[in-house]
């Protein structure tokens, strides 16, 4: 598909400008995670975000890109049943051999130096207030050096999922132009794995299993983070559509419109659902709805119509709002940042919706839904056990969870020796039961 793209200097410049918006998505996600955590861990959350971005960028450029590669470059291919299965790229470490100019491969490396940070930052929100900084950096290194590049190669690097159309006749192969699966579902499923390993915050569940409502400490940060993320997401979806979907610059208007409509529909539905469920709109769940809409939009923004984008957003809002409640109430998953609903659940739904609706838009591609389903099955059946296993081993080597004294004291004082808000040091353990 990339060969058919008219890759002029103007296309490269527009793609580069879009990529340079992506750090705003990183900043937005960091602010949202920060606001949804406790006061006494606010500085730790922001420092952890910065460390995650730093470790992710270093490790990805050092080794990650060599496993991921880019479509058309050298890779390890196994022949199974007479058909080629492209499993992993075979590129030199430290981007050696890659011309760092305006070529699509170099732009893809730049884009993913940022997006791997987004993927690694997603678990931070889920395990806020109890995950040690050293362990966060180790987990980030594993994700950006192995988990993310491996799946990204299968989808964006010419791997077997992207070849499902050419080899097995399944539509256009697995579609994920903006990273709903590659970035967000991988990050969200890693968040799920790490929450399983670390467990809930102290005081979250009573003896009879009822969850205590522990509100986020700064909802202004949360909502401002969502708005900042929106700008970054438009850049992300634009760049992804150009690099991995072959969308020409003229198609980017639709990408911007669909990204916004999907997020808007999802956030408004989350407001309505929480109003119906709790009597008043819940700001944090509504923000998760906005974030979930952005995530779901990433699967195929350039391939769906605006009406379909709204419909995908509406369903995302319902899914996110209900899954927040379901995970917290019935499955005892303490995820203060809403990472699992807004990244894993919304990402998987976005991928499925792309299979159902993108094929209609592109003139009917038989088997597209099956290609999407195989991609989703790979995320749940392979990526989740792998990321759980890797983090389980890491937890044995570098204990993830802070001790109970440190958790009570707060991550700021315990790990950094200073709080984020020294003038307003208020610690309340008297959480109101929801």
């Amino acid at each position: 598909m990339l060969q058919s793209l008219f890759w002029s200097e103007i296309s490269a410049a527009i793609c580069l400008l879009s990529i340079l918006l992506v750090p705003l998505a990183v900043a937005g996600l960091a602010l949202t995670n920060n606001g949804l955590g406790k006061t006494r861990s606010a500085a730790h959350a922001m420092l952890a975000s910065m460390c995650v971005v730093a470790v992710a960028a270093l490790v990805y450029i050092a080794i990650g890109f060599s496993w991921e590669g880019f479509a058309g470059r050298s890779a390890h291919v196994a022949i199974i049943g007479g058909k080629p299965w492209d499993w992993i790229a075979a590129q030199p470490f430290f981007l050696r051999g890659l011309e760092l100019n305006n070529s699509p491969a170099s732009l893809a490396a730049l884009l993913q130096m940022f997006t791997v940070g987004i993927a690694a930052m997603i678990p931070l929100g889920a395990v806020a207030d109890r995950w040690r900084l050293g362990a966060i950096c180790a987990s980030t290194a594993v994700m950006s050096g192995w988990t993310y590049p491996l799946f990204a190669h299968w989808v964006w690097g010419g791997g077997w999922l992207s070849q499902l159309g050419a080899i097995y006749g399944l539509g256009h192969g697995f579609i994920d132009t903006g990273g709903a699966g590659t970035i967000h579902a991988v990050g969200g499923l890693t968040a799920l794995a790490v929450v399983w390993i670390i467990g809930p915050r102290s005081g979250k569940y009573s003896d009879d299993g009822m969850p205590a409502g522990i509100p986020g400490h700064n909802l202004v940060h949360v909502v401002f983070g969502c708005i900042l993320a929106w700008v970054g997401w438009i850049g992300l979806n634009n760049a992804g559509a150009m690099l991995f979907g072959g969308t020409p610059p003229a198609g980017l208007v639709l990408v911007g419109i669909n990204t916004t409509l999907c997020a808007a529909g999802s956030a408004l539905v989350a407001v309505i659902v929480t109003k119906i469920r709790f009597g008043r709109p819940d700001a944090s769940i509504s923000a998760n709805g906005w974030m979930g809409g952005l995530v779901a939009s990433s699967a195929a923004t350039a391939l769906i119509s605006p009406a379909v984008a709204i419909m995908i957003g509406l369903v995302t809002g319902i899914l996110v709002a209900l899954s927040v409640e379901c995970l917290e109430m019935y499955l005892r998953l303490d995820d203060p940042g809403g990472a699992v609903p807004s990244h894993a659940v919304a990402g998987l739904w976005g991928l499925l919706a792309a299979g159902i609706f993108a094929s209609i838009r592109t003139g009917g591609a038989p088997g597209q839904w099956l290609a999407q389903l195989i991609g989703i099955a790979t995320l749940i059946g392979f990526v989740l056990p792998m990321t759980y296993g890797l983090n389980w081993v890491l937890n044995r080597l570098i204990p993830y969870r802070v001790d109970s004294g440190g958790e009570r004291q707060g991550m700021d004082l315990h790990e950094l020796g200073a709080g984020a808000y020294p003038e307003f040091m208020v610690h309340s353990d008297d959480f109101i039961q929801r």
């Binding site: 049943g81 499955l331 389903l373 195989i374």
Partner: protein, 58 residues
């Protein structure tokens, strides 16, 4: 129970891959892929259940 859940996740994924490689007709291939996803959902349910029991003990 948790290891069995993870094994079911992997088994479901292998079933989808086997369906892709061994079946060429659309209907049987689709049915086997859906069966693989169903097995994964069962595995996910087992892991969640095992996690619930661990949390209840703690």
């Amino acid at each position: 129970m948790k290891p069995i859940g993870f094994l079911l996740l992997l088994a479901g994924w292998f079933l989808t891959l086997a369906a892709l490689e061994m079946l060429s007709a659309v209907t049987p291939r689709s049915i086997f892929v859906l069966a693989g996803v169903a097995i994964e959902i069962l595995g996910l349910a087992l892991v969640f259940r095992a996690n619930l029991q661990t949390e209840a003990k703690d």
